[in-house]
């Protein structure tokens, strides 16, 4: 009946986030400034302890369960279920059918290999399961590889917020990208 698995792709799994185990590994990811900036686990970027990450992710999961307007998944390698990052829909606006999507991969080399696949999984979930009309995402211009991946996934750059981000001693633009369900259907949906 359904040809597509939402939570399994060629190399990756979308899984429940395990605050006991995953937070320990994610705390290590926060030593990478780009991850810390993207995760917004705290207002200022700094390495977090596993206790801090666990607490924040547990709060996030609780809010998600109560309000159903956000989602958090662990991204794991399919071959050994290793935790490599998170996929979040930090805000789902049901009345507008608008969702924000964020994918964070902890290590740079794994980001290069798997960001695109994880992003596609997030878009598929948002469009084919949640029936969103538009999915948006954002990145800083200091992350050209992330922007490149977002654009390759069919997202279009719609907004450039000038000097919105201070990172590594200078101001950078924040770029907001988006893709509509119609565009998703044209580019991705399996017949």
């Amino acid at each position: 009946m359904f040809n597509t698995q939402l939570f399994e792709a060629q190399s990756l799994l979308l899984d429940a986030y395990d605050p006991e185990k995953d937070a320990v590994i994610e705390a290590g990811f926060t030593r990478r400034w780009d991850y810390g900036w993207g995760s917004q686990l705290d207002a200022a970027i700094h390495p977090l302890s596993s206790f801090q990450v666990k607490k924040k992710r547990e709060e996030q999961l609780k809010r998600s369960a109560e309000s159903r307007d956000s989602f958090l998944f662990a991204v794991r390698l399919r071959e050994d279920a290793r935790f490599i990052g998170v996929l979040e829909l930090p805000w789902v606006s049901w009345s507008n059918r608008l969702a924000w999507l964020k994918v964070l991969i902890g290590e740079e080399n794994l980001e290069t290999m798997y960001l695109a696949e994880a992003l596609t999984m997030g878009l598929r979930y948002a469009f084919e399961e949640l029936d969103m009309a538009l999915v948006a995402s954002s990145t800083g211009e200091f992350q050209p590889q992330v922007l490149h991946t977002l654009l390759n996934a069919g997202m279009k750059p719609y907004v450039r917020q000038r000097q919105m981000v201070y990172f590594k001693a200078q101001y950078w633009d924040r770029i907001i990208v988006g893709i509509s369900q119609a565009e998703w259907n044209t580019h991705y949906r399996e017949e």
Partner: protein, 185 residues
């Protein structure tokens, strides 16, 4: 500089009075057009107790002000700075004039000028951001007049009154605001 940096030509910004203003804010929400212009989420009704509880919980994380007319001290709207990022020194602004009879008469523009002065000269921000919906042409014109520049729009991002509409992003940098001040002096 004027001693009271929160006073403009038509309005002053005053701290919220949780008893009196919660009732006022709840009353303004009866006008669904006001809500549609102000909020991206669906319009709803909240009683004054709910409004008060919201502010009791959130007030420390936002700079929220009522817009008061200088002429008769009547409170006619609201304005707030939220989502302040002290590292990037940026914040978001939200504004609404709740009393319809004062729409399109310059009160919102004056309140925004006061807030920007506060944001750049007191809080030392370097950027202020806002969202406006494509059907809110009056708001869009007012923000342009205050110095905001459009930075793009998410097409069909919102659903209002049975139609999809664009979510417009606007921003003003401190350097642009300072240049505007120099031009007007």
């Amino acid at each position: 500089m004027n001693g009271d940096s929160l006073t403009g030509n038509l309005v002053r910004l005053v701290a919220i009075d949780l008893d009196e203003d919660a009732r006022l804010l709840s009353e303004w929400d009866r006008d669904s057009e006001f809500q549609r212009l102000l909020n991206s989420e669906s319009a709803s009704r909240y009683n004054s107790k709910q409004v008060r509880e919201f502010f009791e919980k959130e007030i420390d994380s936002m700079h929220f002000y009522m817009i008061q007319r200088l002429e008769d001290n009547r409170k006619i709207g609201l304005i707030d700075l939220n989502g302040i990022d002290w590292v990037s020194r940026s914040a978001w602004v939200g504004i609404g004039i709740g009393e319809r009879e004062f729409w399109g008469k310059g009160y919102g523009t004056d309140a925004m000028k006061v807030l920007l002065r506060y944001a750049f000269t007191i809080l030392n921000l370097q950027r202020v951001t806002l969202n406006v919906f494509d059907f809110n042409q009056r708001g869009y014109a007012s923000y342009k007049k205050s110095g905001f520049k459009e930075e793009g729009r998410l097409p069909g991002a919102l659903f209002k009154a049975g139609k999809r509409c664009d979510l417009i992003f606007m921003g003003i940098l401190r350097s642009e605001w300072e240049e505007l001040q120099n031009q007007t002096q």
